[in-house]
Amino acid sequence: MRTGLITSVLAHLLLLFWGLFGLPDTKPFDASTVEALPVELVPISDVTSLQKGKKTAEVKPTPAPEKSEKQQTPKPTPAPPKPTPPATPPPPKAEPTPPPQKPAEPAPAPTPPAEQAPPPEPPKETPPPPKEEPAPVKPAEPEKVAEAPPPPPAPKPRVKPAPPKPDQTAAVQKPPTPTQSTTDSKFDPDRISALLDRQKPAGGSEASQTPESFGAEEARNPSAMMTQSELDALRAQVQRCWQLPVGWTDPREVTVTIRFKLNQDGTVSGTPSVEQYPASNYGTVAAEGAVRAILQCGPYQLPAEKYDQWSEVQMRFSPQL
């Protein structure tokens, strides 16, 4: 019995010493807590309404203003034959250079009255350029008449246009510069909106069909983009029911993307589909959890007038450390 007791005491002391010195000190937990589990909403419109995005993109750069002149002119005579546009443009031109063109005015003046009659004259020159730009055509006309009085252009308020005019070829190039200057000065948002409206008629004859249909959809609710707070609201509603699987370490392990459709009353229609989920142990669990959260937390309170925007939602579930 004594051997047993001695061995036991020694073993316990050994164990105690190991516990005191051998065991690593309890390490404090990492304090980086998972604070929020933000859900990113990717509105479907980003994918579907590409047309709209292009429009806005085109308006911004400078080239757009050139069209604006075109569009101003077509308004009065949108449908008429091609020859007419060249005839009408002169008036805008006349604005920047009213004094110098006075001698030439006789030519433009007759055209307005006989808008459709004058074709004989312009057709000669118009045939090649009309497609490219109606504007270049106009300058050609007045200059022909104005060639006789080259000096008058010089005294013009604008110095640049005056010298180059002598040559016909030069003249054709010139016009763009004055137009640019005018556009620069007159560039303002209101005009951009005018451009947008004009776009349809401009491209009308050939490629207008598909864009127009897009336009119509957007026109139904022009200002219906979901605001950030509304997205946040939807996110918060889903987040209430969302539970992450236990044990993941890397947020990418549990980041899933779910796509689901909503009814008009905010209920989920059909079953949400998992767009993508990570190939980790937690991937499927996280995806199921996200789908469950979406189903559980419906119906969602969303602005009914923007139903087009949230009828189909793609949502990314990602815990952010």
């Binding site: 019995m1 047993g4 036991s8 005491v9 316990h12 005191l20 309890t26 404090p28």
Partner: protein, 235 residues
Amino acid sequence: MNPADVGQAALDAPNLSLITLFLHAHIVVKCVMLGLALASIWSWAIIIDKVLLFGRVRRQIDRFEKVFWSGQSLEDLYRSLSSRPASAMAALFVAAMREWKRSFEAGARSPIGLQMRIDRVLDVTITRESERLESRLLFLATVGSAGPFIGLFGTVWGIMTSFQAIAASKNTSLAVVAPGIAEALMATALGLIAAIPAVIAYNKLSSSAGKITSRLEGFADEFSAILSRQIDERV
């Protein structure tokens, strides 16, 4: 220990080694921990002792059986063992042989009475030997069943104290609560540390003791049969 002191100490000593946990514990929890540590030491002493004893007994029995069935004369065997029976089975043999010799030397002529006496002596010897084998095993059983409860008591007491500490310091932050709970849980850990080996060892040792006892009983029956044959021959 004053509950407030517990909280203060916890704030001062964020590193919780076993010693600090023990020193900061309430006196009741300390007693429980000490008791459990002693129980663990004692039960391990018993376990070691019994394991050695059983091994020794098994080896002695094997050796005796080999000698017994080797065809050696029982008289010679008795003479060599009678002075100091080495093993449990040898003690059994010596006791039966002594009773046999005594009866014959006294000139007893009743075979039935002799047979009964020999059986009685064998039974008594078996009981004594198995008692020796199983002594202190009950302590293991007790530790195994009561250890967790004792540890749990310490835990409950410790948590009670730490809740009082919360009430006193009016601070519910985890840093105040955690040390008290940790030291309280240590009591349960000690209880389990003491109980688990005790339970396992109790089951194992009691079954080995049972096996040895049944071997002794088997030998006793066989030996009693041999002696009764001898009695019939002699009478």
